[in-house]
């Protein structure tokens, strides 16, 4: 590469990631719900005219690489109109499509992705590319508040939105907004959050136009291709450090919450000179409970695992994915088909797929991959009616231990791999809900022993001051996070129901139920695995 291109692509990369970051700031500012504003459960990205990922801001790994599927679904949907065709007649300006249908470009129902075409504002009227963002909405209807409790039917999980326009040419398509609002427990919040997603798209379109203007369209497009080539080249460089061959790994999901246990994810990883092939074809069939992952989630997990091993890490764009193939078999737990429920696929199964990918990669990169982390997000929902008559829904994911590695002990009480959301402070929680946190501490001794110790999990015990309902969507209650080498595994998590007096009752990994006044849910999250034991 000559100096000019080396400089140009560095400058363009900064500019494009900058646009994605600005979209994220605009979304965070304008959003209404705490889940987006405070827990920062969203991602923003830019695409070229062919729908190839150009840049993505570093928000949540679980959204990595799964947004191109949303863009593709929107472009191919008869209900979202075809932007490409409209581009030639100039009709598509200021059109915004949304989608959450897991089987048409979505992942799980609370994640609503918005896609909009970006056009030039200047004399030229051509299509520049697409902007997109995905945000986790805190309620999208369904059987239980928060739309994240274990169900056995996609319909019970919430409202399914196919790729569909919600605004076109600055005109709101009101029936669509009304339909979405009528199907959520918190319609005003949904409306506010969707507006925020539009504001983020607007920011992206405007800035993308400026950048194309600065470079000139022809040069811009040439440089985008150079960016893809650069990322692909960096990824190939990274592949050189891997051993070539076929590596097998598998991982177990505890259960699906609906009677099926020990669900196996099987991977055959082929490392070739300039190709990584992740073949999940032999994984178990999809299950009745809501832990099924759609293909886009599986791809995200595989891409994430590879990027973790990269040093230097290539800029995240379409070029990174060119040398990574992900093979899945439709109808399996890693490539579910309608009408399988999927709420937990994104938050729980995705973590296991990462474990499996890293287990295979560890064989190709001996000594570099740490022990397994907690491998769950410990989703907890508590809802009911407060003494003042208002309904409340509390949703949280709880951190655990990270796996120990060659460099250091695993981090304790920290979210790992596919998520990185913040907690709800105890003082904020107790102010907002009729709940009391009795303990929030590290779970001593839960990290696996080894030359480096696995990180400890967390104890969080919450007592209710009113009768309430709860939902748990957790993993690693049966099969613990594995150590690396001969390091010890971390401890499994434990969910307990604590009565006012008497012995506590152990709860299943995935369940829902009632809490009487004064009863408590006690969650102990898994510790990370240890890194090789000391030799004697």
């Amino acid at each position: 590469m000559n100096l000019q291109t080396a400089t140009d692509i560095a400058v363009l990369h900064h500019a494009l990631v900058g646009v994605a970051e600005e979209m994220g700031e605009a979304l965070k500012r304008a959003a209404y719900s705490p889940n987006i504003k405070e827990r920062r459960d969203y991602s923003c990205a830019l695409f070229d005219k062919q729908g190839r990922l150009l840049a993505q801001a570093a928000h949540l790994p679980v959204h990595l690489g799964s947004m191109p599927a949303s863009v593709e679904a929107v472009l191919n949907s008869p209900y979202s109109l075809n932007f490409n065709q409209r581009a030639t007649t100039g009709l598509g300006k200021h059109s915004y499509a949304v989608v959450n249908d897991p089987y048409r470009g979505g992942t799980h129902l609370p994640d609503i992705t918005m896609v909009a075409p970006a056009f030039s504002y200047g004399k030229r009227s051509g299509l520049l590319g697409y902007v997109a963002n995905r945000a986790h909405h805190s309620d999208i209807g369904g059987a239980a508040p928060g739309s994240m409790s274990p169900q056995t039917d996609l319909m019970a999980e919430g409202l399914v939105i196919p790729p569909i326009l919600i605004e076109e040419g600055d005109n709101l398509i009101s029936p669509v907004w009304e339909l979405i609002k009528a199907n959520t427990r918190t319609p005003e919040e949904r409306e506010g959050d969707l507006w925020a997603q539009i504001a983020a798209c607007d920011r992206g379109m405007y800035r993308l136009d400026e950048i194309v203007e600065r470079h000139g369209q022809a040069k811009y497009e040439r440089l985008c291709n150079a960016l893809f080539l650069h990322s692909a080249r960096l990824l190939r460089e990274n592949l050189k450090s891997l051993k070539r061959g076929l590596f097998k790994a598998e991982g177990l999901m505890d259960d699906d919450g609906a009677g099926t246990t020990d669900i196996v994810i099987r991977l055959k990883l082929t490392v070739a000179r300039d190709k990584l092939v992740f073949d999940f074809g032999a994984s178990d069939a999809q299950v009745r409970g809501g832990i099924n992952a759609v293909r886009a989630v599986t791809q995200s997990a595989a891409f994430y695992s590879v990027l973790c091993l990269c040093d230097p890490r290539p800029p995240i764009n379409h070029g990174c994915f060119e040398h990574i193939d992900v093979i899945t078999k439709p109808g399996t737990v890693v490539d579910a088909r309608r009408p399988a429920p999927v709420a937990g696929g994104n938050v729980e199964t995705s973590q296991r797929i990462v474990d499996v990918c890293l287990a295979a990669l560890a064989q190709a990169a001996p000594g570099r991959v740490p022990a397994q982390s907690q491998g769950t997000m410990n989703n907890l929902t508590i809802g009911g009616v407060a003494p003042n008559g208002e309904q409340f829904t509390y949703y949280e994911t709880i951190a655990g231990g990270c796996g120990a590695g060659a460099a250091r002990d695993g981090a304790s009480g920290t979210h790992s791999h596919m998520t990185n959301t913040l907690n709800t402070p105890v003082e904020a929680l107790e102010h907002a809900y009729p709940l009391r946190v009795e303990e929030y501490a590290l779970r001593d001794g839960s990290g696996g022993e080894g030359r480096h110790r696995g990180g400890d999990g967390v104890i969080r015990r919450i007592r209710t001051l009113v009768p309430a309902q709860f939902g748990l969507l957790t993993e690693r209650r049966e099969h613990p996070p594995q150590g690396a080498g001969n390091g010890n595994p971390g401890r499994q998590g434990i969910n307990q129901l604590r009565f006012v007096d008497g012995e506590p009752e152990v709860l299943p990994a995935k369940c829902s139920g009632h809490l009487q006044l004064g009863e408590a849910i006690d969650i102990r999250t898994p510790g990370g695995g240890g890194w090789n034991r000391r030799s004697r």
Partner: protein, 646 residues
Amino acid sequence: MTRKDTTVAAIDVGGTFTDAVLLRGRVLARCKVPSTPDDPGGAVAEALQRLGGASLLIHGTTVATNALLEGKLARIAFVTTAGFRDVLAIGRQNRAPEDLYALEPKQRAELVPRELRIECDERLEPNGSVAVRLARKEITRVAEAVRVLQPQAVAVCLLHSYANPMHEQALGRALRKLKIPVVLSSDLAPEFREYERSLVTTANAGLMPKLQSYIAKLEAKVKPARVVLMHSAGGWLPAEIAAIEPVKLALSGPAGGIAGVRHALDAESIETGVAFDIGGTSTDVSLVTKTPLLRAETQIADLPLRTPSLDIHTIGAGGGSIAYLDAGGALHVGPESAGADPGPACYGRGGKQPTLTDALLVLGRIPHDLKLGGEMALHPKLAPDALKRLDKSAQPKRLADAIVRVALAGIERALRRVTVERGHSVEGMALVPFGGAGGMLACDLAELLGIETILVPHDPGLLCALGMLHTPASRDLSRTVLRRESDDAFKTANAVAKELKARAETELRDCGLRGPFKTQLTVDARYVGQSFELNVPLRKSWKTEFVKAHERQFYFDRGDAPAEIVNVRVRVEAKRTAPGLPIESGKGRPAPVGRSGHAPVYEREALAIGAKLKGPAIVTELSSCLYLKAGWKLEVTGVGQLRLHR
């Protein structure tokens, strides 16, 4: 400030230089001395002596910042409610953003090891009522447990203590008998969110021994000058208060820079500016509006410190940032830095890697005979050799140009993000470069951002110290009230505000300051159910103000939906003694003193009021260097500042 303080010195300690200015009557004296990192007070005392001594010394210090950055805190015991001993270890349970794709994410800084965390059997409800009483026996047990551990300081943070300080105060009385510093969260930062409150309380305790000894030693060295310290919210604190609340000094130096930029903008009647300070390893940017933008917390070494701070954003790219080509062939500048030692290759101290400063030198934006701080000579021949390490076949000028472009792209990206985050647009603002290198990139950055005006203040390299001269004493206090509007929120907030105001005034008076004081009362408000707050004035009509602010900031409001007051904030300011700085300028038509590349070089002190220059040109002065790009014009304003436009 009392009448006796007729000579005021302001001294700001930086990584390489300690900058000092002194105002005696209408005469301004300045000097720069090399910093003495092992004992920063040494350089301060020397600078003051060179300037001839003062009666009041306003001091910007990095002692607190560096101790936080390096994790060098005292041995602290941490006392908290039973069940929550690990609150600092768990934090907000997320990993640092740069660790998002790390195979081995780092453990967050815990500040207090497990054996020094002590649980106390007591419990308050969110409204402050007592759920579990703190027994006298328990107080004795806790005090004894602390005594046995022999810590250098104790931090106490109990759940919901912002709503009722009784239990913390009872523990405080017992712990103070141990004759070590005790910090109560209900005194220092009575705001809800237990992790942030515990963290700021602990950090403060951990800084106390070091800062107390630093301040005491400094006072002895500079006698009879009275020492006061710049705090993060842009005012100064008497030494007595700074010594017990050292965490408030985290942005001590940069706060002076913002005060200087505000003063520079005011002199030209410009409303809003983007302050821009390029240092050795990092660049600070900040939006400077009419009323200072304060954040409720500031981030130091990934620690969210809950203490009111000016809104300053730091980017990991500076003059010492190293340029390299990655394995895929793309050019990067930073985040690795050559720092101050060895520094850029052209410093001639053994640095071999190409840096941004070397690129600027090769491009002729830094005259080869410039002496840094008036003393340190450059080694211009070393710069092209360093650049050639990137690509032997390329011309050094082309390499330098590439490095500057990539560095600017990174700074532009960060600046745009910060402004969008704060809900502003940079277009139409003035760019105010300061620090040693700000002026060398100002024209390029303005062009990239669509900014039309650049304002270069007096002595840009001494701006932090100069800004401190314009800064009044101020005391910022706050407390969480968490009351809904239906529950007499205004009445409660008003009562709390009165109490805080009285406390702030008493404290300032106790330090010898005379009234009348200027007071600013505000509340952090939000809609019930939200988890972020907006700061609005404390008035009966606070709800209306809040709804308006919400619309302005987030582009929508929820009208009549119930709102609540979360925190009450009080700022009490002593009268501003803002000295009119002398206007210094040269005479006659500008005449170049030399050339650098294709640009004539002018000395700033020789430029007369009203003098005009056209780019390309370079203007040098003691503390910094300005590159006026082709296409830009410069004019010396009526107060002697440089105003650039396209």
